[in-house]
């Protein structure tokens, strides 16, 4: 056990940090939900960041660090699945990736080159033709899309499907971790600067404790996500995704309460993170789905189904 980064990890994290710094500012003229970072994505492609997990000295753990760092940005791009799930697929599958779960709209689905199709316990895979996907308008702060009914997919075997599910959980937790940190950071900034009743909001204990709890939840998600990426263990993945969705549910409510009316405007960036978190709350079966996975992999009860 050693929580210190290796020099390779350290170098990679610094490089991602440096790249991210250039995308830290939100264009003030943007007043929508899905702020897509096309340039960010290009740079990640050019720098071969999507292949971090395959580099032996780095591996999925370092990829998870990159995912959570980049999720803190106001811009979004399909990063998590490319970095953490794609390396697990047998054969060559082009990125970006998306998931279509129970026929619902999914993140980045309209532009995905590879789609994982989840129906109950089954996982299929397809490279959709342009006419098989469509963009849908959404309040979620990701570009959302739909896979048309009747698209034929190749079914993954039971063990492949289980492995993909596991890595989807890890990708979800890493993304949630970054989003939580950004949402908490943005709210802390607000509570420090805004005054009511002649004092900063952050001096009210009713808010201090709740904010501190949010920060602890975010930190816990981060450790669980990193550990799961490091071990690739099914139980770890289930715990990470479970804590991620549980924490996100709570933090989203709290930070919006604390920003109050300011958090309702599209002029403030908070929604860029909270409405991504909201999109992640339902994935992979939501909290019930994660609880089932925890029961199965950590308590050894309840088989699949």
């Amino acid at each position: 056990m050693d929580f210190k980064l290796t020099s390779d990890q350290d170098a990679l994290v610094s490089a991602v940090d440096k790249l991210a710094a250039r995308f830290e500012a939100r264009p003030t003229e943007f007043l929508g939900f899905a702020l897509v970072g096309h340039e960010l994505e290009r740079e990640l492609e050019d720098g071969q960041y999507f292949d971090i997990a395959q580099v032996p000295e780095l591996g999925p753990l370092t990829a998870a660090m990159a995912v959570e760092r980049l999720a803190r940005l106001p811009f979004t791009a399909e990063i998590a699945l490319s970095m953490l799930v794609r390396p697990q697929l047998a054969g060559e599958w082009p990125r970006p990736l998306a998931v279509a779960e129970n026929s619902r709209p999914g993140r980045f689905l309209a532009t995905a080159k590879t789609v994982l199709v989840i129906h109950g316990e089954n996982v299929g895979i397809v490279q959709p033709a342009a006419h098989e996907v469509e963009a849908v308008e959404s309040l979620f702060a990701y570009p959302m899309g739909k896979l048309k009914e009747g698209t034929t997919t190749t079914q993954l075997s039971g063990s492949e499907a289980a492995n993909i599910r596991k890595w989807l959980r890890i990708a979800l937790a890493a993304e949630v971790s970054g989003l939580l940190q950004a949402a908490v950071g943005s709210t802390v900034e607000h509570l420090s600067s805004r005054k009511q009743f002649g004092r900063p909001l952050g001096t009210f204990q009713a808010l201090r404790h709740r904010m501190a709890e949010c920060a602890v939840l975010a930190g816990g998600v981060r450790w669980l996500a990193l550990k799961a990426a490091g071990t690739g263990d099914e139980g770890d993945a289930a715990l990470a995704a479970s804590h991620a969705q549980e924490s996100a549910t709570r933090v989203v409510y709290d930070v919006h309460q604390m920003l109050a009316a300011m958090g309702m405007t599209l002029e403030h960036p908070l929604h860029l993170w909270t409405y991504r978190l909201k999109a992640l709350l339902s994935e992979l079966g939501g909290r019930g789905g994660q609880a089932k996975a925890v029961a199965q992999h950590c308590f050894g009860c309840g088989g699949p189904g």
Binding site: F140, M144, A206, H256, Q257, A261, M264, L266, L281, S282
Partner: protein
């Protein structure tokens, strides 16, 4: 104690439902999204006029002002049915709930004659100019000033988050005529007054809802003042106590919860996890309903409404939270074009603990006034 509706109340609720069924257009659910939008505002004007003609806009107002002196239960049943249908009255619910009654109590004869009849006919939209950039929860620190010059007042300052301002005819405005809380006064200001400028704020809650309103040396006659100079705090306390249980949010929340469960059942997805959460949310809605009814009942019996109103309001915030979370987690397609009514509910639910006073302030009130805990040191 009796938890059943009497036959008159049942008949009234049925009449309101029949009216809604007959008057809401086919595409109402897509319209309901964006309570301050062009399309809904236009619809609301037509709809409120029809409600007025059917005697369903202000039944609880005195006969003299177009009502029939109906009791608070009637008013609340009406509010429940309207809110549960997506509030087709738009911003006019405020006229009905508190602006009209406040003018009846504190307005001059001229003000009453000028403003109340158009409200009773469903023809006019008001907005509430309280909050400012630096004055949210701390409303008393507002800075908009009204200076007396001869027989008129000149108003300078800025309001924010003002709902319906883009379509409003008149603003119920708070401004300072002297320093301090005791220096706050109320002005009834036509929105067309030169120097009044409205800017819409793009928001999470739909088109046309919240705005900034600027007052650039806007001149209004002396008789725009409601009550006396410095009387705002007293008047607003009364007005806001009407507003606090004014919106029966639990009614739409529980209707939407049922809709979400129905969808899940149909898709074979109402399983483990969803069931427990739905049950919890349903119970929270019922608790909010009964809490709110207890306040209505106090009004009905003429008992002064105390801090329990804050408790009812917070119970409602909890219910909205649980239903909102349930839908986002289990029917997320609702937010991506899958169900415009669930989307409309989501956009209303997220402000339940913010609009008309933040939930944490209600908790402070409950702690101080209901539990009688010592106050936090300032």
């Amino acid at each position: 104690m009796d938890f059943q509706w009497d036959s008159e109340q049942q008949t009234f609720r049925r009449a309101v439902r029949d009216f809604l069924a007959a008057h809401l257009p086919q595409d109402w659910e897509s319209l309901a999204h964006g309570p301050g939008s062009e399309s809904q505002s236009a619809f609301a004007k037509k709809f409120c006029a029809q409600l007025a003609q059917a005697g369903l806009l202000v039944p609880h107002w005195p006969q003299r002002w177009g009502g029939r002196d109906a009791d608070p239960w009637t008013a609340f049943i009406l509010a429940e049915e309207m809110w549960a249908a997506g509030e087709p009255r738009g911003g006019q619910y405020m006229n009905v709930n508190w602006i009209g009654p406040t003018l009846m109590r504190y307005g001059s004869q001229d003000q009453q004659a000028r403003y109340i009849p158009p409200m009773a006919r469903g023809e006019t939209i008001w907005c509430q100019g309280f909050s400012e950039p630096e004055a949210g929860s701390d409303l008393a620190s507002l800075r908009t000033r009204a200076e007396k010059r001869g027989s008129s007042y000149r108003i300078s300052g800025q309001k924010v988050w003002t709902s319906y301002a883009g379509h409003a005819d008149t603003c119920f405005l708070l401004a300072k005529t002297a320093p301090g809380r005791e220096g706050i006064s109320i002005f009834l200001i036509p929105m067309r007054t030169p120097g009044v400028i409205v800017r819409q704020i793009p928001s999470l809650i739909g088109e046309g809802d919240i705005h900034e309103v600027f007052f650039d040396d806007a001149e209004v006659p002396g008789d725009a003042l409601l009550g006396a100079e410095g009387q705002a705090w007293e008047i607003v306390r009364t007005a806001l106590s009407l507003e606090r249980v004014g919106i029966p949010r639990f009614a739409l929340a529980s209707r939407m919860l049922h809709r979400a469960v129905e969808k899940l059942e149909k898709a074979g997805r109402f399983g483990h996890g969803a069931v427990e959460q739905a049950a919890r949310a349903r119970a929270a809605c019922e608790a909010a309903r009964l809490y709110s009814y207890s306040i209505v009942d106090q009004r009905r019996h003429g008992t002064p409404v105390g801090p329990e109103a804050s408790a009812a309001r917070f119970a409602t915030v909890m219910a909205e939270r649980l239903v909102g979370e349930f839908v986002v987690e289990h029917v997320p397609e609702a937010l991506s074009g899958g169900d415009s009514m669930l989307l409309a509910h989501h956009q209303r639910a997220i402000v339940a603990g913010i609009a008309s006073g933040a939930a944490e302030i209600q908790l402070n009130l409950i702690a101080t006034e209901l539990l009688r805990l010592p106050r936090e040191p300032r």
